[in-house]
Symmetry: C4
C-alpha cells in the first residue's frame, strides 16, 4: 500500500547528500500518507549509500512501528509532533546543513535580507525557544517538536517552511517530500547568502516590504505567476 510513500522518502533522503546538505549519516526525511495515517522515515544512523527501500520504517502517528525491521530516526518524535499539529505538512526534513546550523548555533533568526529569501518566505526564519531541563529530560525529541510548533503559531507551516532549533539545526517541511527537500536546499542557500551579507554589513536589511511581498506573492500568492501553471 505505501510503496510510493516509501519510494518518495527513499529518494528524498538520497537527495540530501546529492545537494550537499548532510555529512555522514546526519539528517533525515519523512513523509506522511494522511489517508492511511502512516509516516515513512529514514532509519537511524544508516549510511545514505547503503539505504534501500527495506530500510525505510513505517510508523503510525503515535510512533508505533507499522512495518520495517530498523529502528527509526531518533528524531522521529519531532517529525510526528509536526504531522499531528499541522494537517498541511506532508513531509519533514531535518539536516545539520552548514550555514543554517551556524545561525542556529549563534541563536539568531535569519533576517529577511533579499529576494532569494522572500521567494521562500515573507518572514525571518525563526528560532525556537530554549528547551527547559525538564523538557530535555522527559521527552527531548518530542519537546523539540513542541517548540517548533510554538514557533509556527503565528504564521503556520505554509508561510514558514522552516525554522531553526536553537543550538541545534534546521527543520523544514512541505506538502511533499520533494518540496520539503527543495525548501531545505533553499534555506541553506538563504542562510549562506545572509551570513555573507552580514560580513559586508553587520546591520544589513531588512528588505523593503514592497519587494518582499512582491516576490513572495508572485511565487506563492493566489495570483502567482512564477513557474508553469
Amino acid at each position: 500500500m505505501s510503496e510510493s510513500l516509501v519510494t518518495q522518502v527513499l529518494d528524498a533522503n538520497r537527495a540530501l547528500p546529492a545537494h550537499g546538505l548532510v555529512t555522514l549519516t546526519w539528517g533525515n526525511v519523512s513523509a506522511i500518507d494522511r489517508d492511511q495515517g502512516v509516516v515513512a522515515i529514514k532509519p537511524s544512523g544508516v549510511d545514505y549509500d547503503e539505504l534501500s527501500a527495506e530500510d525505510i520504517v513505517l510508523l503510525d502517528l503515535e510512533g508505533d512501528v507499522v512495518e520495517g525491521e530498523r529502528r527509526p530516526s531518533t528524531d522521529a518524535p519531532t517529525h510526528l509532533a509536526l504531522y499531528r499539529a499541522f494537517e498541511e505538512i506532508g513531509a519533514v526534513v531535518h539536516t545539520h546543513s552548514t550555514w543554517a546550523t551556524a545561525w542556529a548555533q549563534a541563536e539568531r533568526e535569519i533576517p529577511l535580507l533579499g529576494t532569494t529569501h522572500a521567494d521562500l518566505s515573507a518572514h525571518a526564519i525563526p528560532l525556537t525557544r530554549q528547551l527547559t531541563d525538564e523538557e530535555i529530560d522527559e521527552d527531548y525529541e518530542g519537546a523539540t517538536g513542541t517548540v517548533l510548533i510554538e514557533t509556527l503559531a503565528e504564521h503556520g507551516p505554509a508561510e514558514l517552511p522552516c525554522a531553526l532549533v536553537r543550538g541545534h539545526a534546521p527543520f523544514c517541511w512541505g506538502a511533499t517530500a520533494d518540496k520539503a527537500v527543495q525548501n531545505a536546499v533553499t534555506l541553506e542557500e538563504v542562510a549562506r547568502i545572509a551570513l555573507l551579507t552580514t560580513v559586508l554589513d553587520a546591520d544589513a536589511g531588512p528588505l523593503a516590504a514592497a519587494v518582499r511581498e512582491k516576490h513572495f506573492q508572485r511565487k506563492h500568492g493566489p495570483n502567482a505567476y512564477y513557474g508553469q501553471s
Copy 2:
C-alpha cells in the same frame, strides 16, 4: 529560423548550473536575434535537467509570445527593457549567484580592488537605486529594467557588463549568450575575492588607476593583446 538562437540560449542556460551559479531553478538566460526582433528565453521555474529546445520561449520585444508552449521567465520584462535600451546587448543573464547576491543584499557596489575585476570592467560594479512602491506595484519586472538602464547611463553596457539590483541579485549581459555567461562567471568570482579582501582589510582599494586601465585596455581596448586575434 531561430534554431541557432534557441540552441545558444539552451546551452547558455545549462551552463549556469555547470558553473555553480544557480540553485534549483533560479536564474535565466536570454538572447536576441536583432534582424528578426526575436528574443529567446528560458521558461519560468523549469528544472535545468529537464530543459529542452522545445521549452525555450520566443518573444518579440514587447513581450508577446512568438513561439513556444511555456510561460516565459518572470524576469522577461527586465531582459526586454535592456534589449530595447541598448543595441549592443545581445544576451542577458540573471542569477542569484551566492557572492554577488551578498553584495546586492548588503546594498554595496563592488569596489574595484584588483586586476581580476579590471579584466572585467574598469568601474566598480554598480548597484541600482531602490524601486518606489509605485514602480513595484505597477510593473515590478519592467521597473527593474528601468533602474538597470539608469545605472548604465554613464558608462554603457560594453564598459559595464553587469550590475547588482539592490536587495536582489546580479544581471549580466554581453554580445552573445556565451559572453554573457562568461561575464556572470567572472562577476561571481570577482564578488567572492572582493568579499574575502574586505575581510582582510575593510578599507581595501581601490586598485591604482594605471594598473586598472592597463588591464582593462589590454583585454578590451582598441589595442588589446589578450587572447588570440
Copy 3:
C-alpha cells in the same frame, strides 16, 4: 597475518581525499593490531592516487620497521606515542583539514556551540600546549605525542576523539580506522560550523549543558539509542 590491518589502513588513507580532508600528500592514517603489537601506517610523502597495499609500512610500538620497503610517515612517532599511552585507541588520523587547522593556528580550542559538536564529544576540542625548544629539538614528533597525551589526561580518548596541536593541525583517533576517519570528518565540519557561528556572534555559546549531555549520551552513553543496535 596483518593483511586485514593493511587493507583497513589503505582504505582509510584513501578516504581522506574522498572526504576533502587533505591536499596533495598531507595527512596520514594508522591502525594497530594489539595482539601482534603491530602498527600499519601510510608511507611518507606518497600520493594518495598511487598508494597500494605494498606501500603501507608495518612498525612495532617502538617504531622499528617490521615489514615494508617505504619510509613511514614522519608523524609515526606521534601515532606510536598515542598507542602506547591509551589501550582504547585502535587507529589514529592526522590531517591539515582546512577549518580545524584554522582553529589550531589561531591557538583557540573549539568551543562547544551546538548539538553537532555534542554528537562528537561533550567537551570543547582542546589545544595542546606550546612545545619547548628542547622538545622540538630532541624529538619533535614524539613530543607532539606527549602534549596530545597531556591534553587527554582528564577525559581520555573515548570522550575526546580529537585534539588540535597548537600552530599545527588536528589529530583524531577511534577504535577502528573507519571510526577514526569518521571522527576526522566530523571534527572538520564541527570546526567549520563553529567558525561561521563566531562570525555571527563572537561570544556565542556554550550550548546548554542539558542539551549537550542529551546528545552525547543518546549517541555514546550506556543507554544510547542512536543508530542500529
Copy 4:
C-alpha cells in the same frame, strides 16, 4: 626536441582547473629547457578544455617565438624575467586563485601562522611593491617580473617558492612544472587557512620559530626526512 617540455607544460596547465585554481582561461604555466634556452608557455586566452600540444608556444629567453602558431600568454614577459634572473627556476605558474588573490588585493603579505605554511616556506609570502606609472606604461608585464625579482632578493626562489603581486595575484615557481603547480596548490590552501585564522584572531601568529624551522628543514633542509628518498 622539446616534446617532453611541451607535454610537461600541457599537463601542468591542465592541472590548474583540476586543482580548482583557475576560472575560465585565467592562469598559465611555463617551463624552461635550460640546455636549449627554450621556454614553453600556454597561449593567451585559450580554454583549458581545448588546449592541445600544438597550442603551446615555444619562446627564447628574449621572448621571440621559436615555434608555435599561437600568441603566447600576455604574462610571458613576467615568466621570462624570472627565468633570466634565477637559474634555479625551472617552471613558473600564474593564477588568480581565490584566497591568495584576496591577500594580494588586501595588499598584505601572508603571515606565517602554522606548520602548513612552514612546510612550504620558512618566510611570510611577500608582496611586491607598487609599480610606478612609468613602469606600467613602458613594459607592464616585464616590470611585474622586476618587482617579483626584487621581492626574491633576500631569500631567493628556493626558499620562497611564491610571491603575491600587489593588487593582482600570485606567481609561483619550482624546479619542474609539477613542483611549481604543487607550490601553487599549497599556496592557495595556506592562503585560505591563514585568512580563516585571522577571522578567529586578527592578531594571530607568527608561529614559534623553532616549529617553523623544524617543519621547513624536515621537508627541505639538508637532512630532510619527509617523503621517500
